[in-house]
Symmetry: C2
Subunit: 386 residues, 2 copies
């Protein structure tokens, strides 16, 4: 198996891009990543996207985008794992390069969500839940997460306000990220007073959706070393996926993100590291409860103790476990099928020392964990600077 | 790169499975393939599916199906390339096994189309076309193929009746396939008198949709050799994808399936063979015009001469280029995202000598070519018996 490295990255701002289509958004990120990588061709283009069929009425979007960016003829396909689609597309690319079949793969995560009305969007996002047993009963995604958070607070004795640090940290970091959707700081008072959405989840527990695209060019590590564009070489030290039941009620223990745990453990084994070695962790904070559960599943906190890291001030860029360093889903925004790719771009920027105001000091090993559904489809990547 | 072999296969009949859901259908094929392969676990499950989001309102279907078949925890994701999704999912599996990252991958193609009304289905299938420039103008998939066929007949001087052998051969072969959707023979008179759908495409030029699933278990060739279940070992000698513009009007030459040509050439190069070495060719005869164009693109006929092979009696199981040996899309049926996997199962059965009445004599090398869109997303596999 060949070792795989990142040759270049690109991203658009997460925003309401009323004037840009699905393919135009993807194109912007791809062109930027290709320019950054210094390439004008590739062997394959893998698209991470969740909603192009339901919202944009466009399947076959891998091929559409390949042609749009001038790569007609190239292998292209779309990888879908709900909100985990972004990292899943990168994972497909890693396999192809590691196998020796491909030398240069472009992976892009893209989502164009403003083509839908709010109701259409809520219904489309619910397709990540169990269609027969959750969505059909009217459970939206925020409702599913509200059930989880309610139960978690009850089981472990936390108050709503104990989750405030997750959102405050994310917003504070996003201030410095020009690609972020929400760039205003929030205070604990803001958090406490935010409008209730689905008790106990209020507006500042929930990540905003948005339009956006992020792209990554990968090659064998030797190619990245030879290219030597003056930047440190960042390898993909681990790429691991795992699954759980889609429906919450089918979980053996809803208070543990079992798939997150399995995929993190697989990734740690592949990279030969443990939680203590991770210098930056881009987790999937679609809701603040997910930040807590992710920290626990990946081994940074004991069961039921995720919020403690925030309360102890350990999740900022200078903390023990820097998370959401460029805003996370909460403030950078959550263009669902693109999110996983944004996470990798952000970890990459941390590892090459390009994270500006929110740079985690001396970051050498970073992890990104992307979740599809409420903990159903998990993909974990570990990146290492060489 | 490790050589990859097929360890087992499974399929459901293509039919109107009113009593079976998406996951139940996929499960049937997966259980059968696992039983056939003699395994009870795997490292990953890749799902080829086009319409689960738009018709079944279920994204994240890879994970849903993994859990349904008792493989919770396993890596799972969905691969989508419109009607090319089936072969695309196998292709993702081939990369994963070839890379060394995975030892056993289950790939399943599944489509549950009867959950939609006829109008919903037509609109959903049109998402494989260009949403902005084709579907939005009201072009359905049959209309797109009618434009192609009209132009082809004009350019090369063929009459509608010259395409009859494609449909007659497909139906004749499907008679012997218990998994086929349409198992009645048709005559030239039937073909000539069939109801017009979109001039010049009549009912017997078009493949029927349907519900269905087909699954394949792949491993490194050494594993397949060791298992030795008494059957010859069949390797995947080539797996190659390519793309063209999605929209017909954007093609440099609409009379050539450029992506089919490129992916076939890539596959021939990988396997070290040429068209003359192919003993059986499962092509993507969604419409009879596609059979003609596919034969030309893959190098079996000169430009504009595809129908000649049929008229000369060379496409039957004993002909020079046996196609649609178990009915093809035309008569086995076209459960869109599953079709590519059915094709591989059928080539496999030919190569192990399990094709019964429609066995191509002494078949050693077989090819399957799966198309997403009207020639937009192409995946070609070459299988070889060792």
């Amino acid at each position: 198996m060949r070792e795989v490295a990142i040759l270049g990255v690109g991203q658009t701002a997460v925003a309401e891009h009323w004037d840009k289509s699905l393919k135009a958004l993807a194109g912007e990120a791809i062109f930027e990543a290709m320019r950054d990588a210094g390439i004008d061709r590739g062997d394959a283009l893998y698209i991470g996207n969740m909603l192009s069929g339901t919202i944009n009425r466009q399947e076959n979007s891998g091929t559409l985008i390949a042609d749009w960016v001038g790569l007609r003829g190239i292998e292209a396909m779309r990888i879908e794992a709900a909100c985990g689609s972004g990292a899943a597309a990168l994972r497909a690319g890693v396999s192809a390069v590691a196998s020796g079949a491909m030398d240069t793969v472009i992976a892009v995560g893209v989502e164009k969500m403003t083509d839908a009305t709010r109701d259409e969007l809520t219904a489309s996002l619910a397709t990540a839940a169990d269609a027969d047993y959750e969505a059909a009963m009217g459970l939206s995604f925020v409702a599913i997460n509200a059930l989880l958070m309610q139960r978690y607070m009850h089981a472990f004795g936390w108050q709503h306000n104990d989750f405030a640090p997750f959102s405050i940290n994310a917003h504070a970091n996003a201030r410095h990220n020009p690609f972020a959707r929400l760039r205003d700081s929030i205070s604990e008072k803001d958090y406490r007073r935010a409008r209730m959405i689905a008790d106990p989840i209020n507006l500042l527990d929930a990540s905003p959706t948005g339009d956006g695209a992020a792209a990554i060019v990968i090659t064998p590590v030797e190619t990245a070393r030879k290219r030597g564009n003056g930047r440190p070489v960042v390898t993909i030290a681990a790429s691991a996926a795992a699954t759980d039941s889609i429906a919450l009620h089918d979980r053996h223990d809803p208070m543990t993100l079992a798939a997150a745990k399995i995929s993190a453990e697989r990734a740690y084994a592949q990279a030969g590291v443990g939680p203590a070695d991770i210098d930056v962790f881009e987790l999937h904070d679609a809701f603040s409860i997910m930040a807590a559960l992710s920290l626990e599943a990946a081994g940074f906190a004991e069961r039921g103790q995720g919020p403690r890291l925030g309360l102890e001030g350990q999740i900022g860029p200078n903390g023990k476990v820097p998370i959401a360093t460029m805003g996370g889903l909460k403030a950078r925004g959550h263009p669902v099928g693109a999110t996983g790719m944004y996470q990798i771009v952000e970890v990459y920027r941390q590892l090459i020392g390009d994270a500006g105001e929110t740079q985690a000091p001396d970051a050498k090993i970073g992890m990104a964990q992307n979740i599809g559904g409420s903990g159903a489809s998990l993909i974990t990547h570990i990146l290492r600077v060489n």
